[in-house]
């Protein structure tokens, strides 16, 4: 066997010992286990979690679960539901497109080489951090309070949410680009915006397009949740039936939504695979 001849021909040398697992790795593992136990245990600061109780409660008769059997598929064809749906799609498209257009310059300016000066760098980074720190639902609640119930607060919330997602992902991609073309642009006497457009943007364009599609997928789902707090679209109609309560109709809308999200997801995934 070739294995045997190899091992006999090679002189055994002082091989290094396999290093022990790092203290950091062990520490993280211990902390995760201890935190899990502390929070689930039945004591003053714990939740008293028990899988048996979850199962028992799910088996109880409750109107939401029993309505599944009577799902009103007719909701799929109701004009009012369809209109609400079109509004949701419109929100998702408008919110995504406006958001990603603003996100590209913000992402460029949030990097050391892309910011025209230090002040812009600091301000843009601060603005992006604030936008990202707020979850989309909180933006929606704030905008509903500020401009009233309807599609506008939903649009504004999705606009900011798209900025947050696309800026962050694009900025991470910018960290790994080839700096050579930037030097070449500077050496040719190009202006700052010209340098960004010719030396940087072509390098990140496929990734940026992919993130933009991803933001659209997220926005489509988020627009439902936003509707629950009065920010327009299908979510608002779900909330309407939930208050009646008419769970059969809610489930009908959910079926409709799952179909649309599935189709959009597949299309978007196919497109994104072509891009990167």
């Amino acid at each position: 066997m070739s294995d045997a001849s190899l091992s006999s021909a090679v002189v055994r040398q002082g091989r290094p010992r396999r290093p022990p697992p790092s203290a950091f790795g062990i520490g993280v593992g211990v902390v995760v286990i201890v935190l899990t136990i502390l929070t689930t245990w039945n004591w003053k600061y714990g939740t008293g979690f028990s899988p048996a109780e979850v199962l028992r409660k799910l088996r109880n008769r409750n109107p939401v679960v029993s309505a599944i059997a009577h799902t009103e598929f007719s909701q799929v064809f109701s004009p009012r539901s369809r209109n609400a749906f079109v509004e949701t799609l419109r929100l998702a498209v408008l919110g995504s497109v406006s958001g990603i257009v603003v996100a590209l310059p913000l992402a460029l300016w949030s990097t050391r080489f892309g910011a025209p000066n230090r002040l812009v760098l600091i301000v843009v980074r601060a603005v992006c951090n604030v936008i990202r720190a707020f979850p989309d639902i909180l933006w929606a609640v704030l905008f509903v309070a500020a401009v009233g119930i309807g599609a506008l607060p939903g649009l504004l919330a999705l606009f900011l949410f798209s900025i947050a997602v696309v800026t962050k992902l694009t900025a991470d991609t910018l960290d790994g680009i080839d700096m050579g073309p930037i030097e070449a642009a500077h050496a040719s006497g190009a202006g700052h915006s010209q340098m960004l457009r010719t030396a940087v943007v072509p390098q990140i364009l496929p990734a940026y397009a992919s993130y933009s599609l991803y933001a659209f997928e997220l926005n489509l789902r988020a627009s439902v949740v936003l509707g629950l707090v009065g920010a327009g679209g299908i979510g608002q109609r779900i909330e309407f039936f939930r208050n009646q309560p008419a769970w059969e109709k809610v489930w009908g809308l959910v079926v409709m939504f799952v179909i649309v999200v599935f189709i959009v997801d597949r299309l978007s995934t196919l497109l994104r695979r072509r891009l990167v």
Partner: protein, 259 residues
């Protein structure tokens, strides 16, 4: 004309890349700078277009004192100086012609650059630059699909598209094999002779330097240790520049022969 007077560059951390350099390069010269890595070749070349600022001394390029130029002034100066890089520094994801058009940015309005709509005249200049290095048929091919030698020719075309008075080439053949290196060096020599563009090239292979240079400048730890014609530069001179005896690694021919 390029004139260094008492020019020094000290990097953070106290590295003296250039020490009290006095050097004059006349219009139309083909100068090769040799020296070990770290001898200050790249610093010297990058000082000429202001990519590396002098710490002290003065540097006059085409009648402008580089150390005193404003931001705008530096850009105007760089527009007249083409640069060629060891790693080509092309944008691989875009077409060859778009890469070459980067050499026209100084003449093109920013709004036109942003929407990617270049004036016809500038596209024509870029195409002519590609014709000079005989690669115009690849104009609409992505730079990523070219070989190393082809990429460096595109790099030369980008510099030519600036219609420069000076061309700086920083180790232009260090990433190429010997036959391709000679092709690239011949293009540089031809451009210098036919267009009269002052050309400064950093090299570390002695045989390439003596084969193409009208004038050789030797740097050792940031100091000028040799300045003479290619014919004057013999083995003793190079041993002085390198501060050690020569090895097979110092010449491209011997390295290629596997010695």
């Amino acid at each position: 004309m390029i004139r260094f007077s008492g020019a020094s560059v000290t990097y953070g951390g106290g590295v003296h890349a250039l020490k009290d350099l006095d050097l004059e390069i006349a219009d139309g010269e083909f100068v090769v700078i040799v020296g070990l890595s770290g001898a200050g070749k790249s610093t010297l070349i990058r000082a000429v277009n202001g990519l590396v600022p002098l710490t002290s001394g003065s540097l006059d390029v085409n009648g402008h004192e580089v150390t005193a130029l404003s931001r705008r002034g530096v850009r105007d100066l760089r527009a007249d100086i083409g640069m060629i890089f060891q790693g080509f520094n092309l944008v691989n994801r875009t077409s060859v012609i778009n890469n070459v058009l980067m050499g026209r940015l100084h003449r093109v309005p920013t709004w036109r650059t942003l929407i990617g709509l270049y004036p016809k005249d500038d596209v024509e200049i870029a195409m002519r630059a590609l014709e000079r290095v005989e690669i115009v048929e690849k104009a609409y091919v992505r730079a990523a699909n070219l070989s190393g030698g082809q990429r460096q020719r595109v790099g030369i075309a980008r510099a030519l598209a600036q219609e420069p008075k000076i061309i700086l080439a920083d180790e232009p053949v260090a990433s190429l094999d010997p036959p391709t290196s000679h092709v690239v060096m011949r293009y540089l020599q031809q451009i210098n002779r036919e267009l009269g563009i002052t050309t400064i090239v950093n090299l570390h292979f002695l045989d390439l330097a003596t084969a193409y240079a009208d004038r050789i400048i030797g740097l050792r730890s940031g100091e000028l240790v040799f300045d003479g014609s290619g014919a004057e530069a013999d083995a003793t001179v190079f041993e002085n520049i390198y501060g050690r005896s020569l090895t097979a690694d110092d010449t491209m021919a011997k390295e290629a022969a596997g010695l």
